[in-house]
Symmetry: C2
Subunit: 116 residues, 2 copies
């Protein structure tokens, strides 16, 4: 069994044309023997956002902390701690921090694609 804070992992920072203020970590993945799906945890700084994109695999997202919005179904949807988001394969999506604290969410993907 692996038990740890997600912050124990070294973050990968994303600051470019597509994403701003994002720190991503693989919390549970193939290196742990997780062979079916992978848990990543993302922190988005105030004013930050993830890329707006679509891909062939789904996301299952659990919002942990902070305030943000998820783009989907043609609009921005407000989310906060305790909210869940299912992004089906092929659907365009993006998350952004609309609050003044760090926006934190777990985002899970199937195995077999890049984990981060």
């Amino acid at each position: 069994m692996k038990v740890m804070s997600y912050t124990s992992e070294e973050p990968t920072h994303m600051d470019n044309d597509q994403a701003r203020g994002v720190a991503g970590r693989v919390a549970i993945g193939k290196n742990d023997g997780a062979n079916h799906f992978c848990m990543r945890v993302f922190e988005v700084a105030p004013g930050g956002y993830t890329p707006k994109h679509a891909h062939d695999w789904e996301h299952e997202i659990f919002i942990h902390a902070g305030e943000g919005e998820v783009f989907g179904n043609g609009d921005w949807n407000p989310v906060m701690g305790g909210d869940v988001v299912f992004v089906p394969p092929g659907e365009e999506h993006q998350l952004r921090n609309t609050g003044e604290t760090t926006f934190v969410f777990a985002c899970l993907i199937p195995s077999g694609i890049p984990e981060l």
Copy 2:
């Protein structure tokens, strides 16, 4: 895209010889078109606990709120919001609330087994 609070789903309550004070919900599952893995969210009341058991599939757990402990590796391990737990297939495990507020965690399993 599905966006909601996990509390929007009707809970299934577990109070028996094996579990105490547990409310479980399928937040994202096969009814949403999630074909690879399933997100359940559990609330455990103060003094409550999940069953101590083992099974052939893994758990990927994200602790959201409250204070608790996870049994694994032969001992009880304290956990709080932002902690993650990977329970490999076959490993005995149990979670319990050791605090005075509701202990909340997302627990994901592969598809193809009962979702709750």
